[in-house]
Amino acid sequence: MIKTLVQIVVVVALIMLGAVIGTRYASDNRATVVGDNARFAAANNAGGALTQSVGGSATGRVLEVRDGESIQAAVAEAGPGDVIRVYPGVYNETVYIDKDDLVLGGVIQSGAWPVLDGEKTLNDAILYSGNDITIENLHIQHYKGNAIMGQAGNNFLIRNNLIIDTGVYGIFPEFGTNGLITHNVLSEIEDAAIYVGMSDNIHVTSNEVFNNVAGIEIENTRHSIVENNYVHDNTGGVLIFITPGLPIKTTYDNIVRNNFIVNNNTPNFGAEGSIVAGIPAGTGILNMAADRTTIEGNVITGNKVIGILITDHMNAPNLTLDPEAEPNSDEIAILNNLMWGNGGDTIAEIKALKALSMVDDDVDILNVGTSTGSCILDHDRYPTVGLGDFGTCGFTTTADVVTYLLPEPAERREITADEMGKRAYYGICAGCHAYNVKMIGPPTQIIQALYMDDPQGIVDYITDPVKKRDDYPEMPPQNYLSEDVRRAAAEYLLTVTQ
C-alpha cells in the first residue's frame, strides 16, 4: 500500500539527511499535551443493551421456512414486525429485503445450521434496503459478492452468522445509520470481511475474522467503535480509511479498542485494482486519512510488517486523489496497547525509514505523512518511527465511552398526512392536473367541485379509474400508492387553492 510513495519520501529524505533531518523523524513533541475527553462528546453513555435501538421489533407473525422452501417467498409475504425463521437445510438463493422491520433468523438444531450457499454462481446472499432489519444465525458460503449487504438501511442488527468464502465482502452495510455487528465469524473474504462503508453510529464487537485480505474496515464513516474482536491471520487487521472519490467525504471519531489483532501475515489475495490489494501482508492497524481515531487496549502482536501504520492519501500508491477529501490522518490518539513482536520481517521501505530515524529495533508504530494534533499516551512504550510531531495525549482512556449507537432508532420520522398528501399531489398528480389549467387531465378545480366533501370518492376513482370524459385520456390507476397515500393525496387535493 505505502510502497511507491514511501520510496519517494525516502529518496527525498535521504537527500536532506546530512543537512537537516525532516522534523517528523527527528523532532520530539512529547512535552506538548494534546487533546482531551471532549473528543468523545458524541457518545451515548446511557447504558443498557447495545441492541436496544437496532433490529426488527419481532412484534408480528412468525413465518417458517424449511429445507426446500424459498426464503424470498417468506420475505415477500412478511410485513412489518414479522419474524422469518429459517430451519436447517441448504438454500441456494439471493434474498432481498426492501421492506422495514423484519427479523431474518436461522434456527440452529443440534448443531445443524441453515446454510445459504451461492455455489459460486450467485452474487449476494442477502441484500437489504429496509430499516430495522435483523439478520442472525445463518451460515452463508460461496457467493461471489457479499454475504450481507445493506444499502441505506438504518438500525440494523447483524449477529451470530458464520460467513465463509462469500466473495468480495462478508458483512457490508453502506449508507446506514445506527447498526450493530456482533458475534459473527468470517473467513476467506477477498477484501474486507466486515466492511462498514459510508455509515454513522456503528458498533462492531465480538467478531472473529481470519484468513481474509482485510479483517475489519471502517471507511468514510463517523462515530463507530470496533472492540473485542479477534482479528487474526488476515493480510491487514483493522483499517480505518477515508477512501477518496466517494460521495461521503469524511471519517472521524472512531475507536479501536480491546481487540486481539494478531499475526495478520496472510499473503494478499485481493483483486487487482482494489485498494486493499496494496496492503502489505503483516499490517495490524492501518489508518489512512481518517481523523480522531482512538486506539486503546488492543493486543497487537506478531504482525510482521508493522503494528500500527498511520498514513495519508499522498503516500498510498495508485489512489485517485479527491480535492474534496482531506487527505491527512489528523488527531490520532494512541493510548495504551499491548504491542509485541510486530515489525520483525518488515518491508524495505520501512527499513529505510528506520535507518533514517536511526532505529534498530523492530518498529511497532509508523507514521508517514503529515498528522496534525495527534498524540501518544506513553512515548517510551513502543519503538516508533515518524511520530516526532505527536504530543502526549491529555486523556488516558476510552473506558467511559459506551457506544455511539443511538439511544433511539434512526429515522422514525413522523410524516403527517398533510405532508404525505402534498408530496404525492405535487410529485405525481400534478403531472396531469394543474389547478386551473387544462393539462393531460382535468383541472384540480373541477375535481374539487365534483368531490367537495368526498376524498374517499377520489380514492376509489384513482384506484380503479374508468374513462369519463371524451376530451381527456383515461386515467391510469394509482394503485401503486398505498391506501394511506392515496387518501392523503385526495384530501390534500381538495385543499389546493392555486
Binding site: T94, Y96, D98, N123, D124, L127, S129, G130, K144, N146, M149, Q151, A152, G167, V168, Y169, F175, G176, T177, M198, D200, G245, L246, P247, I248, T250, A271, E272, G273, S274, I275, N318, L319, T320, D322, P323, A410, E411, R413, I415, E419, K422, R423, Y425, Y426, G427, I428, A430, G431, C432, A434, Y435, V437, M439, N479, Y480, L481, S482, V485, Q498
Partner: protein, 402 residues
Amino acid sequence: MSKRLQSNVNLALVVVFLLSAAVAAADFRLRDYCPPGFELTAGNACILHTLYDNYDSLQNAGVGGLKSALPPVRDGFSPQQIDLGRYLFFDPVLSGDNSMSCASCHHPALAFTDGRGRSIGMTGDATRRAAPSLWNVAFLQRFFWDARADSLESQMTEPLYSPLEMGSNPTKLLRDLGQNDAYVGLFRQAFPAGEGPPTLDQLYTAIAAFETSLISLNSRYDQYAHGYHEALTDDEIAGLNIFRSFVARCAECHTPPLFTNQQIAVIGVQEPDGLPFDAGAGDTSDNPTWRGGFRVPSLRNVAMTPPYMHSGTFDSLRDATEFYTLGRGHALPDEEKQRMILHWHIWEPDLGSAEVDLLVAFLGTLTDQAFLPDIPDAVPSGLRPVGTAPAGLNSLATGNRE
C-alpha cells in the same frame, strides 16, 4: 447535412425571421403557474415536492438506497422565469446564425439529448462530446462531462458562445433580445424588479429556471422504491439485484435515488474509432489522477439516450453495460493504461450474458417523462421553435403536446 444545404437552411431561417420580425408582444404571456411537481408559494416561487421528501439520507448527501432522500434541489424560481426560460430554450435566436436552439442538442423527444455520439454545432462540425440529458439537473452540483462548471449559468455560456456550438456572442444576444418587443415584455414579467433591456444574467437565470424544472422521478422503478413491488417484473427485480450487488457494483457510482453519486470516475472506456484519447477531468483540473475521468452520469431515462459514454462509443445500452464486465482496462491501449488510475470498482465481475440482459431490463424501468414540458408553438423571435432539429427527429418540431 452538407454545409451548403446547411447554409441554405440558415438563409431560409433568416428570411423567416425578417418576415415575422413583427411578432406582437401581446401574443406572448408567461404562465403564472408552476410546472408539474412544483408548488406555487405566496411569494411566487415554485418549490419542488416529491415522495422522496419522506426520507432522509446519510449526511444529507442524497445518495443511498431505495428510500433515500434526493440531494439538495435547486428550486425557488418564479413561474414566469421558468416559462421565459422555456421560450428561450427553444428559440434559435440564441445562436449566432439563428439556426440552433438549446433544444437542437437537448431535445425533449430524446430525453433532452440529440441522439448523437458527439453533438453537431452551428458549423456542421462535430463537437468533442455528447450532449447529456437535462432531466433532473436541478440536483446536480457540477456540469459537463469533465465537471468543469459548477452552475448551470456558467455552464451555458460555453455552448452559447463556442463557435463550434451555438456560435453566438453577448453583443448579438443583447441586441436581438433588446430589440424584440415581445422579449422585452417577457423579461419585465419574469424580472419585475429590473429596469431597461434584458440582461445576460437574466437570460442565464431564466434558462437555468427552465432546466431545473425538468424533473423525472415517476418511473416504475420509483413506484417500486416507494413500496409497490408489483411495479417491476421478476426479471427487472433480478436486474435491480445485479445492479446493486457488489459483483456488478453499478449502484456504487450510479447510486439511487438519482442514479449518480456525482463523482469523477476513471473507467477506461475507449474512444470511437479514429478519435484521439480524451483526458476528461484530467485536462480541466489540477488533479493528474483524474486523467481519463468523467462525471458519473445519472441513469434516469438512460434507455432513451443512445449512443452512450462521453463521445458515443456504444450504440446500444447493452454494449454500454457489457463494457463493465469485459475486464479492467480491457479497452485501453497499453500506454494509456499505464498513465491512468482506473477506478477501483472497475474490475472483472464476470457477469453472464443473461445477467447483462437483466441489467438492461432493469435500466429500462428508469424511464419517466410524465413531466415533459411543451415545446412552444411559436417563440418571440418569430423563428421556428427548436430550429435545427437533432438527428432522428422527422420534423423540426415534434413532441409538442399542446
